[in-house]
């Protein structure tokens, strides 16, 4: 039962399988105001990710289970969720890397309103992103290529990796209690433009983030850096924006 290889000799190319309990935080506003835990017992393989388990549950156990996913390969940022108490992408978390002897808990990310099961209302998150003007601001006409050296590009390389999955922002204890805080993701994306040599809107963005709900809310707890599935040094980026505001320029 534990593995497929206990009875027969090991076959080359066979992927070991195991039984695992997935404990999902269910919420359906049409049924109850309260959310509840529900256990699902599934047989998974060593190559399976938490997303595969959720698919299996949805397709074979309970079709009402609701969650977001698009590319399923860690690029689109749709399936950030709280797995075993940590924010991760379900599509990048191998089940075998978790403790399969205990139930694996899957919850929606915290701090955003839950709409159903693992789906949260991402609008406040996107609004914070829009507020920092996530586009190139340049005064000259785009008549020729805007040149940039490799060093200038490297200055903000880390923050270009963001996929807006909200894992960082919803791991931030300040955001949990104060939903008006811009949150690390918005600051990371502001950083991406503030330190871009081609961009001329640094002052505008620094002014936006020099706000009661801006970078000064950050308590440097590093939850965001730990949560980022892209390995962005989020807290470092926030600190660099703070320094830029103190200097008055990028």
């Amino acid at each position: 039962m534990a593995t497929a290889t206990t009875e027969a000799p090991v076959e080359i190319g066979v992927i070991p399988s195991f039984d695992v309990t997935i404990r999902v935080r269910r919420f359906n506003p049409e049924v109850s105001e309260e959310s509840t835990w529900q256990d699902f017992h599934v047989t998974m393989y060593g190559t399976d990710r938490v997303l595969d388990a959720l698919h299996k549950i949805k397709w074979e156990h309970d079709g009402s289970l609701t969650f977001r996913r698009s590319c399923a390969h860690g690029v689109c940022g749709s399936d950030a969720m709280r797995i075993n108490g940590r924010n991760r992408l379900a599509c990048k978390t191998l089940i075998k890397d978790l403790n399969i002897n205990e139930p694996i808990t899957v919850e929606p990310i915290k701090g955003l309103e839950v709409e159903k099961d693992l789906v949260v209302d991402m609008n406040p998150f996107y609004q914070a992103y829009r507020d920092i003007k996530p586009f190139l601001i340049a005064n000259d006409k785009p008549e020729k290529e805007r040149l940039q050296s490799a060093e200038q590009r490297a200055r903000f390389d880390d923050t270009t990796k963001c996929i807006l999955c909200a894992a960082c922002t919803t791991s931030c204890p300040v955001f949990w209690t104060d939903g008006q805080y811009f949150g690390p993701a918005a600051i990371v994306n502001a950083h991406r433009f503030i330190f871009d040599s081609r961009d001329e809107g640094a002052e505008v963005r620094l002014d936006i983030l020099n706000d009661k709900e801006g970078v000064w809310r950050c308590r440097t707890t590093f939850n965001c850096t730990e949560a980022c599935p892209r390995g962005i040094q989020v807290t470092r980026a926030v600190a660099e924006v703070k320094q830029a505001i103190l200097r008055g320029r990028a």
């Binding site: 701090g111 955003l112 209690t177 002014d207 020099n210 009661k212 703070k242």
Partner: protein, 152 residues
Amino acid sequence: MSVVIETPRSRKRPGFNLEKYGWMYMRLSGVLLIILIFGHLFANLMVGEGIHAINFAFVAGKWASPFWQVWDVTMLVLALIHGTNGMRTLVNDYAEVEWIRRTLVWLLWIVCATLIVIGILALTTFTPCGDASSLATLAKDGANVASLCTGK
């Protein structure tokens, strides 16, 4: 379970806000307080006879010196504002009702201001040499102060 978040956030006064200065204050006062507090502990607990030297006379002797007066006043003011500002941040984080938040923050600053006033008064108006009866008490406590007061 669910948290309701109002959007979009409204910005009041662009360009200037106290949060930035609050943040800078915490860092600057933090560095100074490390020096002041450990200096204070070293002078009181390590130098000379160490902790056994601490009595009324020891304190009176310290506060007779303008150096320690300035040291202690600086430490008092920096630490109280540092602590109050930290508490204010916590209140801002966890008080969800606006009037409660406002009241708590006001209370914090009133307590802070009161403690600073009392502390500075104690430090600046402190006179170990009062009337004759208090001198007698002093003599028991430490010969230093008694001699300091009587001029012997």
